[in-house]
Amino acid sequence: MISAIAFYLFASITLLSAIMVITARNPVHSVLFLILAFFNAAGLFVLLGAEFIAMILVIVYVGAVAVLFLFVVMMLDISFTDLRKGAMQYVPVGLIAGGILLFELISIFVAWGFAKAADDNIASPTPDASEITNTEALGQILYTDYVFPFQVAGLILLVAMIGAIVLTHRHRPGVRKQKVADQQSRKRSEAMELKKVTPRTGI
């Protein structure tokens, strides 16, 4: 009973705030609604017993991604109302495409069923939560059975990093950087000159 109430609460707030993300006029409000949507989705994961994914969702999406969005929105001077101007003309096409997709999804949902063999096919069934926490269960397969996709994901992140540097990093001439080696290798003879100043004569 309580879990059902919690489910409908989380689910409805998620949906409402998702709608607000795309309808809010102020982009900062959009990002804040996005954060609300993430929190409620995390709540849904907790209800499913997947507390690890729930926490990751909060830490990664709220903590990093949404805050990054907020920074971008606030720091870049983009007029979102101008961007939206042309958008209305695509609404009919978008509605048609979305409607077809919705129809397809409903037809899948109606005819949905698992194959008879599906239960036997599952490579790593979810272990009982009373025996092992799901963080540990994920760790046990992520670094053994799934080490290959895990490592390739690392390569993809490396490429993403290279790509970000290639596309955005600019080498500016004339920037004065601290060169520690130069500082260290300076000798007293190059850096300063001793003048003998006799009294009452000046330099």
């Binding site: 194959a115 008879k116 096919n121 053994t144 996709p149 490429v159 290279i162 540097i165 596309l167």
Partner: protein, 479 residues
């Protein structure tokens, strides 16, 4: 849980070697800066050459590695051979171009290297997870490559378009994979195959169609081709060469593996889809190409049309059809390599030119560029006795043997239409008033590539059997 031993990793040694050498070269590049671009380019070429050797030593039909996620059969072997040869070619072609167009960035060959690893992983994928990872690795590298000339508005536009449309196609792919996983309970190709063969549901079919649509985007089959002309035109010419040579081969290999292993029992469903894709691609490739004046856009439409012909072989299926596809893809790659070798030489006063009218009177100015280009154009339009004719002939023969008369007739008709634009290039070169001469500084490595492709295109007339036999052998590894 299985333990990973060194010997169980033998099938994946080439990819491991490439990944390690990519990281080493990255370190060298970071330390030495952009002045090391040439060094790193040749380093990547050598890395691919060594990986080729390692792959031949490793042998084929080994045990699936890494929790059954990675396989090496004679089919994947052949396709990876093509991918590596294509990447060696395109990196070789790009070195001089990078210096001429002032895109001297050491990341360029490295991104090509990473995309190569991605393509090899996706060809060898035996699991939806490894498939997706390989696909993303190659796409991400290619998005960056398309936009690498970032101060150039067209290059940035091309990268942006490719990225957004590619991201949508990745979304469709994942959605499809999740539906398939939801129905069958597995991501492994063989398990999906046996489960779907026993029972089929509407949800699984829709998931399968989503996967197919995403992959049709990667090979730019009509109606998923919109990005191709813009991306080909906007990207730096050496990147266009890479796009035209390699990624489609990898994606095609993946489609073949998917259609004949996990989704073999859905033959009736994919037969119609592939039939339509082949038909539309041939038609659009032939008719939309007629009005192009930019040679890079023309090549884009030509590649759309050629994917259509290759798809005929896939629809025909069976050993004959698939080995015809492989011969077709190989020869198409060879011809495109030669054509791009020549397109990259189209420079006046230090600037690259890409209009067809710029080729006017090339036969009188620089005959040694005009004659090879004429041979490539004759070959790609399918005029006997050149290699391109044989590859089309094998495809149509396979189509007729499996009763696809309509597709074969449409294929012949559209190739007649398409030959108009190939022949127009020859007409411009040989019969129009000469324009100014092209710059004549051409690196010997590029001459070597043009010479090699010319050798294959002409040599295939005299001895076509080795390639045909190798492809037939490779296809046997699939069934």
């Amino acid at each position: 849980m299985e333990t990973i031993t060194l010997s169980s990793l033998i099938p994946i040694f080439p990819e491991l070697f490439l990944a390690i050498s990519a990281m080493l070269l990255l370190v060298i590049g970071v330390l030495k800066g952009n002045s090391s671009t040439r060094l790193i380019s040749w380093g990547s070429v050598i890395a691919f050459a060594i990986a080729l050797l390692i792959m031949t030593k490793g042998g084929i039909d080994t045990e699936p590695a890494l929790n059954n996620m990675f396989v090496q059969t004679s089919f994947t072997f052949f396709m990876k051979l093509l991918v590596m040869a294509g990447l060696i070619t395109s990196i070789t072609l790009s070195v001089q171009y990078l210096y001429q167009d002032n895109i001297i960035r050491f990341e360029y060959p490295l991104l090509a290297l990473f995309s190569g690893i991605g393509m090899m992983l996706m060809i060898s994928a035996n699991d939806m997870l490894s498939l997706y990872m390989g696909l993303e690795l190659q796409s991400l590298s290619l998005y960056v490559l398309a936009a690498i000339h970032r101060d150039h508005i067209k290059s940035a536009e091309s990268g942006m378009k490719y990225f957004i449309l590619g991201a949508i196609s990745s979304g469709m792919l994942l959605f499809g994979i999740s539906l398939i996983y939801g129905f069958t309970g597995s991501t492994n190709f063989e398990l999906i195959g046996t489960t779907l063969a026993n029972e089929l549901s509407l949800g699984a079919v829709i998931g399968f169609v989503f996967i197919l649509a995403a992959l049709a985007f990667k090979i730019s089959a009509v109606p998923f081709h919109m990005w191709t002309p813009d991306v080909y035109e906007g990207a730096p010419t050496s990147v266009t060469a890479l796009f035209a040579l390699v990624p489609k081969i990898a994606a095609f290999a993946l489609i073949i593996r998917l259609l004949f292993i996990p989704f073999a029992s859905l033959h009736d469903q994919w037969f119609q889809i592939m039939w339509l894709l082949a038909f539309l691609s041939m038609a659009v490739g032939a008719f939309a190409g007629l009005r192009q004046n930019n040679i890079k856009r023309l090549i884009a439409y030509s590649s759309i049309g050629n994917i259509g012909y290759a798809l005929i072989g896939l629809v025909a299926g069976g050993e004959a059809g698939l080995s015809a596809v492989m011969v077709y893809l190989t020869l198409y790659m060879v011809m495109t390599a030669g054509i791009f070798g020549i397109i990259l030489c189209m420079r006046r006063d230090g600037y690259g030119v890409t209009d067809i009218s710029d080729l006017a009177g090339l036969s009188r100015n620089t005959p040694w560029l005009a004659y090879p280009l004429a041979i490539f154009m004759f070959s790609i339009s399918g005029i006997p006795p050149l290699a391109g004719f044989f590859s089309k002939y094998l495809i149509f023969q396979a189509a007729i043997e499996s009763g696809l008369y309509t597709l074969a007739v449409i294929g012949v008709l559209t190739s007649v239409v398409a030959s108009y634009y190939y022949l127009r290039i020859i007409k411009t070169m040989f019969f129009d008033e000469p324009d100014d001469k092209f710059d004549s500084t051409i690196e010997s490595s590029r001459k070597l590539i043009i010479g090699l492709s010319l050798f294959v295109v002409v040599g295939f007339i005299f001895n076509p059997s080795p390639l045909i036999e190798i492809s037939a052998n490779a296809v046997r590894g699939l069934f």
